[in-house]
């Protein structure tokens, strides 16, 4: 905690490394994750299978890693899409004002009026369920709060003396947006992007858990946990505990990295 800059950098590198290695491991283990071995079924955690095995003798560590890598990829894609949507919509609302602003604010309120889970369920049904249904659902439901934030920021920047001055000096509109506005928004945007990540992963897992995402043979944390529900009363605790813990770990890493970045980039808390 001595140096917030170094500390933040450390967390971002750690989160990045974890992201890459989990994606890589998941990709490599994808084949093995579905391999059944009935001689090895229902084993509690042991050195050969640190996360135990399930009723088909599938290694839970492999399934968890494969599922986590899927979650991380979906989370990354959806966070990027929704952050970009937030930037465009929030920026447009503030820059154009008038009816554009009213319309975008109205749509934002509308999307916020339906709980995320319900909205993702609706969108995934519209897309015929499946992985893409969930991905589109998560991407389309998470931009609202960041869009509001960016709208407020751009509104404030519009009146800023340095922008007024640049315009009076004859800087073209495109350059004004590119060099002055976007650059100034970058910190908020990046923090928002990283902080979207945990939400996106959690909602992807939740909707998959409910059964709207993938088919049962595909490895996904939500599927694994939904399956483990059937074995709760028979005492196979490892089926639910370890996959869930790994998900929490991954989510927390990004939440921590994003939170630190936010504190560092806001002048009020940078020197805390």
């Amino acid at each position: 905690m001595k140096n917030r800059r170094r500390n933040t950098l450390f967390f971002i590198i750690l989160a990045g490394t974890a992201l890459c290695s989990v994606t890589l491991a998941g990709g490599l283990l994808y084949e093995g994750a579905a391999a059944a071995d009935f001689a090895q079924k229902n084993l509690p955690p042991c050195p050969a299978h640190p996360f135990g095995t399930d009723w088909m003798g599938r290694d839970m560590l492999r399934r968890t890693l494969a599922g986590l890598s899927l979650s991380v990829r979906v989370g990354g894609l959806t966070a990027a899409v929704s952050a970009a949507a937030a930037l465009v919509l929030g920026g447009a609302a503030a820059a154009f004002g008038g009816w554009v602003d009213a319309l975008i604010s109205w749509i934002t309120d509308l999307v916020m009026g339906i709980p995320h889970i319900l909205l993702i369920i609706l969108i995934s049904i519209a897309c015929g369920r499946g992985l893409w249904g969930v991905t589109i659902g998560v991407a389309l439901s998470h931009w609202t709060s960041l869009a509001r934030l960016i709208r407020g920021e751009v509104l404030q920047l519009k009146g800023a003396p340095y922008l007024q001055l640049a315009r009076r000096l004859g800087v073209s509109r495109g350059r004004l947006v590119k060099n002055h506005l976007l650059l100034h928004l970058m910190p908020q945007f990046l923090t928002g992007l990283i902080l979207q990540f945990p939400h996106a992963i959690l909602h992807e897992a939740s909707v998959t858990f409910l059964g709207f995402g993938l088919s049962p043979e595909q490895p996904a944390i939500g599927i694994i946990l939904a399956e483990s529900m059937g074995y709760l009363t028979t005492g196979r605790w490892w089926l639910a505990l370890f996959p869930g813990l790994s998900l929490v770990g991954a989510v927390m890493l990004f939440a921590l990295a994003g939170e630190r970045l936010r504190l560092l980039l806001s002048p009020a808390t940078a020197q805390d």
Binding site: W106, P115, I123, A126, P198, L232, G244
Partner: protein
Amino acid sequence: MRHRLQFTIKKLVRMALLLLGVSLSAFLLMDAAPLDPLQTNIGQAALGSMSPEQLARLEEYWGVNTPAAERYLAWLSGALRGDFGVSLLYRRPVAEVISLRLGASVWLLLSAWALAGVLGLTLGVLAGANRGRWPDLLIRAACLTVSSTPSFWLALLLLMVFSVWLGILPIGLAVPIGTAAADVTLPQRLLHALLPALTLSVAGMANIALHTREKAVDVLDSDYIFLARARGERHILIRHVLRNVTLPAITLQFASIGEIIGGSVLVEQVFSYPGLGQAAVAAGLGGDLPLLLGITVITAVLVFGGNLAADLLYGVVDPRIRRGAAKG
């Protein structure tokens, strides 16, 4: 007073327009779904044994060839009179199913909502007042962990510990199995609602606590607290901090309605609790579009109602807003 009335009416009109938007977009999303109304309503097997004339009659009944706009208007005119159509899964009017399910969920949601608010506010102020010391670090770490935890997994863990391992709480449902509805006692109901309510409130608390903490820190850094300290005032936390934290706390509390309902969808699924959330999942998985549409609209009413209540409460709590709102 007249200004307050105007303000309320303006908000109500906006709310009505938003509800119209919610129902229309939900309707369009369902219309886009690749679900054949005949197959979802009757089933593949029954369809195969029908004559073309029967099929044509059914297609007309389910409005296969009617344009979406016409169907939406028909639904809307029914909905305005309280008729939300018939649920395909339960074969009963949607309004009836929703009121039954909401009746089962309402105490769960209300207690979780209240508990989350009280816990969040208390922990947030406590953490803010002890900034940098161990209570702050502990509360922040706990909140971060909870907000990184999917609520359904938390529910699974609690089930494993309290129902399977310790065996002191029921494993699911809202009432004991094999008991007639008339014989169920209140303690039994409470016992069954305990774990779901606890899960929901713990999940909802983290966000409120973290935001309240930030606000409490801001307040404690302000000049008026500095002056109050210099004058040797006592009870600063209750007289100054708590009062100034109330406003954002109201926002957070009413904004959390949507989250609590969203969480209940997951938590009710884990605990097999027969509430509104479970009905939403069943409707989504079973292609029961009228019920899902009804649930979406009812949920939006609750969320927008919460926003409205927060807007009105600001005026009650803060005299500055009461006067300021009169102008805008």
